[in-house]
């Protein structure tokens, strides 16, 4: 039996085939493809804030990207450009905290990395262009920013990325404080691009989108840790 990898879903008003603007649980299929290629069996986790009991049946967790976190999760005032989905926040925070406590392998992608940082006691910048003075982490709607972060020698992410450092960024928020997590990657402008918990079996957050290139380095490592 393949390892079961849970992937948190977005909740968006969506249109497809004959249907228009229906509230939908969805995940870009790239995430599912990345997990399947790596030998895992993907199941999608629509939001549910009752409990984190579903983790019992999972071998690993992918905290997916998507909308901004609600700033109430880290005790901050909402800034004008923060675009959150309250339906996702409480349930995903429950999952993140419970997965950390259970030492379940976790890969956080973009929003998912930010969620890990906040779950570990950290906080976010709500609009990076205000902090770094440029928009290269989200150049234009639908356009990824291509970067080459530096990774801390000896870190998990450094070992996984090897010599190919190119990543695809699409975020306007960022981690200001990673709480108890170790920062193991940054772009030249100082923006945190990777966090890890070396005390746990496999906890890795990346600010970029590895699923758009079906990155088997990262998803493969997660599925191996799950197996």
């Amino acid at each position: 039996m393949r390892p079961i990898i849970g992937i948190t879903t977005y909740v968006e008003s969506a249109s497809w085939l004959v249907w228009r603007d229906l509230p939908t649980a969805l995940i870009p299929q790239a995430y599912v493809q990345a997990v399947t290629l790596a030998g895992g069996r993907a199941v999608l986790l629509p939001p549910d804030d009752l409990d984190a009991d579903v983790l019992r049946t999972l071998d690993a967790l992918v905290l997916s990207g998507g909308a901004d976190l609600g700033p109430d999760l880290y005790g901050a005032q909402r800034e004008p450009l923060t675009d959150s989905r309250p339906q996702r926040d409480a349930g995903e925070m429950l999952l993140a905290r419970a997965a950390l406590a259970a030492d379940l392998p976790i890969l956080g992608v973009c929003r998912g990395m930010q969620l890990l940082a906040v779950a570990a006691g950290g906080r976010l910048y709500q609009h990076l262009p205000d902090v770094v003075g440029h928009e290269k982490h989200r150049p234009a709607p639908g356009v990824y920013g291509e970067h080459q972060p530096s990774f801390v020698p000896g870190s998990r992410i450094a070992a996984l990325m090897g010599d190919d450092l190119g990543v695809h960024c699409y975020h306007h928020q960022g981690v200001a404080d990673a709480g108890t997590l170790a920062v193991t990657g940054r772009t030249a402008d100082g923006v945190i691009e990777a966090v890890e918990d070396p005390a746990r079996k496999f906890v890795l957050g990346v600010q970029w989108h590895p699923e758009v290139v079906t990155d088997q380095r990262l998803f493969g490592a997660l599925v191996r840790a799950a197996g």
């Binding site: 879903t9 977005y10 249109s15 497809w16 004959v18 249907w19 228009r20 969805l26 629509p46």
Partner: protein, 250 residues
Amino acid sequence: MRRPLIGLTAYAEQVQYGSNDLLAGMLPMTYVRAVHATGGRAVLITPDEPGTDVLESLDGIVFAGGNDIDPAYWGAERHPATEIDVARDTSELMLMRAALELDLPILGVCRGMQVMAVAAGGSLHQHLPDLIGSRRHQAAAGTDPLAADAAAYGRHDVVSKPGSMAHELLGARLTVNSFHHQAVDDPGRLAVTGWCPDDRVIEIIEDPDRAFVLGVQWHPERTADLRTFAALAEAAARRAGIAEPASLAA
């Protein structure tokens, strides 16, 4: 408190949301809410890699609505109005056959009921308007089926067979929504236990030899009547050996 884990078959579809237009695994939130409101925990299963190992982790499964099934599965020619998704057919028929084999509690909704019939050796009518000369099962009068929302659903009664699980669960007669142009013709080895009284179109099938196998042709998740989902959750909880799940909504 442990809740029964209910899998829901999901689409892999080109979807538009915000400024995005991409292929996504997805399912309307109405299904998710129906499972959560009746005491289950929902997970979605996309048709990415046909395989049945995921069933071992589930306490119950819902086969959701969607496109038509390839009539090649029962050796028929394709009707011009039939629109199929090969990956979804392959994955769901494999999952349905395995779920039946495992005696996993199963609820089939709309297409899901049709998958159930085909997996059990049955066949479908591919275009009801040709058969019954009416669009009552497909769309409300005056709506454009190509711009569907909740208001576009048809509406009709269903009568159930005395002594069946459907009769015990839903009563002798109920009014349901309707949005389908295909229907079960031959239910294979399953029992037919509900019909539309206006035209005898099959609306409910069940497997009396299994713990809980129920197919309904309408969309209960789009209504306030979640008895079908509650019954699935109870069967799933029994299978999992946990207490009857508490319904979160009456």
